[in-house]
Symmetry: C2
Subunit: 364 residues, 2 copies
């Protein structure tokens, strides 16, 4: 007991020291890795943005900031979309931009209400393509039950953008009955179950293949979809039992779980065999030499729930059309390592680290 206790304290101290250490960007110039959602992005965000803008809402580093506005509890989030190509099987930059921001609001536990749309257009961009993109945004907004209420358009000279970039910011409201505890990795406890809402990696693989640079054919389409119906179904089914939710976009499920493990100061143990990956996605990842755990989804989220209510949570997800492929993929262990461990199909264990580098640039 004593030995164990000392070990824990030492580890906690080491983690605390690492936390106090000021993050530093060592590179002199921005690289694609700084936009990949992995380690370089984290360092950039912590060293530059958090350092410059210091405030509690930002420092929580969630996908959405929880704010008080004249008595209302509002969630505010932003994302710029630079996906290439603009049109791909299963979607385009338009519905991606709407769904992505809706999902950031949804996983915070809020009800998404309003979006803004800011366009950067390259001189010479076809008006017909822009029309297609706005139509797709409108359809996605209607499906998610949100309104695009304000916008902005900028045009830059040819060669100063890549057709069209779209920023969507969003406002959601936390108005669920009862005083649900705040969702977030800080409320994760040992014994909690880890779920994913469906098969992973479909969006990222679709984009890679849509670029046509690889000689791989696979029947894959993007999973882009609005998750607010599904998150509401989960919150309704296990009131008070959901610890946190996070959509698994850039950096994939692996990166989300690393954030959870680190913030909670616990170990997340994944069972490889339980992680749902459709055959064409798994096949393409094998050929590309990438792990589906790092591949972005745009219509899947990771949820950590009270272990005793994992079955009810799973039933709620599977009862929704967007959660049919949901699965319990692991659990939270009381070891304070801050690591994600994968129990492989062959009985081994390996550490699943945060994404390093950028194997899949501009997937969103």
């Amino acid at each position: 007991m004593t030995t164990r206790h000392i070990r824990e304290e030492e580890v906690l101290e080491r983690i605390e020291r690492a936390r106090r250490r000021k993050p530093r960007v060592r590179e002199e110039r921005i690289t694609l890795a700084h936009g990949a959602g992995g380690k370089a992005t984290q360092t950039l965000v912590e060293a530059l943005f958090v350092e410059a803008f210091r405030n509690p809402a930002l420092e929580a580093l969630d996908d959405g900031a929880v704010l008080g506005v004249d008595g209302a509890r509002v969630v505010f989030t932003t994302d710029t979309y630079v996906v290439s190509p603009l049109f791909f099987p299963g979607g385009d930059i338009g519905d991606l931009a709407v769904n992505g921001t809706v999902n950031d609001l949804a996983v915070s536990g809020s009800r998404p209400l309003y979006l803004s749309a800011g366009f950067v257009l390259e001189e010479g961009f076809p008006v017909a393509d822009l029309r297609r993109i706005t139509a797709s945004m409108a359809e996605a907004a209607a499906r998610a039950g949100v309104a695009v209420v304000t916008g902005d358009t900028k045009v830059v000279e040819r060669g100063k953008a890549d057709g069209c970039y779209v920023n969507t910011s969003g406002i959601g409201v936390l108005d669920r009955a009862g005083d649900a505890p705040a969702l977030g990795p800080g409320s994760v406890r040992p014994g909690d179950a880890v779920l994913v809402s469906g098969p992973i990696g479909e969006h990222g693989v679709t984009i890679m293949l849509a670029r046509g640079e690889l000689d791989i054919q696979a029947d894959v389409t993007s999973d882009t979809a609005p998750l607010n119906g599904l998150t509401a179904a989960l919150l309704d089914a296990v009131p008070g039992g959901v610890r946190m939710m996070r959509d698994a976009t850039r950096g994939g499920v692996a990166t989300v779980l690393n954030e959870v493990a680190r913030a909670a100061g616990r170990t997340v143990v994944l069972r490889e065999a339980a992680v749902p990956v459709r055959a064409p996605v798994g096949g393409a990842c094998e050929l590309l030499g990438i792990d589906p755990l790092y591949v972005a989804c745009e219509g899947r989220f990771v949820a950590v729930v009270d272990g005793g209510r994992a079955e009810a949570a799973l039933d709620a997800l599977r009862g929704h059309p967007l959660g049919e492929g949901a699965a319990v993929v692991g659990a939270v262990d009381d070891d304070p390592s801050g690591l994600v461990l994968l129990k492989t199909a062959f009985g081994g264990t390996r550490i699943v680290d945060t994404l390093v580098g950028d194997p899949l640039p501009r997937i969103c």
Copy 2:
């Protein structure tokens, strides 16, 4: 009297017909003019964005959307900044992005509270420049009393952007005591006075000269500044007397007043001699062959106020450091032309139309 009455009806009918006519984008490809804030931008916004996203908040076409969120009255706005060069006398893309969005919230009559920041970075962009930009944003946010609470970073390959683009979206709250009537061109009446909060055109001219393409030297710096203190001072000084406020950014004072005249179905009469233009700005405009009325400001706004309270309004503006150069520049006439007329210094009258084309690309 009868003749006059018939004329009015005819004019009103013509305006109504024009309003009902569906706007159409005739070009097949996006041009720089679509981003200039003038006629082409208006048509693009009305034909594509309003058409696709139809909802009352968007159709108001104000700089900010007024929304109900769980009992609170929230204003939501967005702007992407693509200014070139990124650093210029008097500011940079960072404080410009903060001030611009703060100002869109301020002129709606709201109290700006929270901003988001979405970066698109070009691979190879110096980290030191990004640090300078975020420091400038932080300083501007502190000055305006707002917090940057959420953000996003994307990186695109070299040659797919121009260093750094920044989107800022913002949330303000309408929580002033009393039930102030909604601000907007719809409440403008004949006899109202038109004010500008200071000398115009400084930002646009600064950017033009900072590009170094012209062999003109002038002692001009950007007017970029947060206007929320100044708008609050005005609203406090003439409660219920302010009809509308609008910051004169892309398209300048001329374009703002055309929107006012058209929306109000009245004539705005400007006195050229009353429009404050500092000598170096006037001189540069003359050399460049552009009219300062079309040149963007980033720290000035146009206000339409009850004519009987113009003096009180002017005093309030002049009593604030950012409004020292404020002036009454014209009045609203009951002629239903929807036009802006300029009484020139030489006793003539000319029509001041909305901006056509893009004489000053990427000024914000």
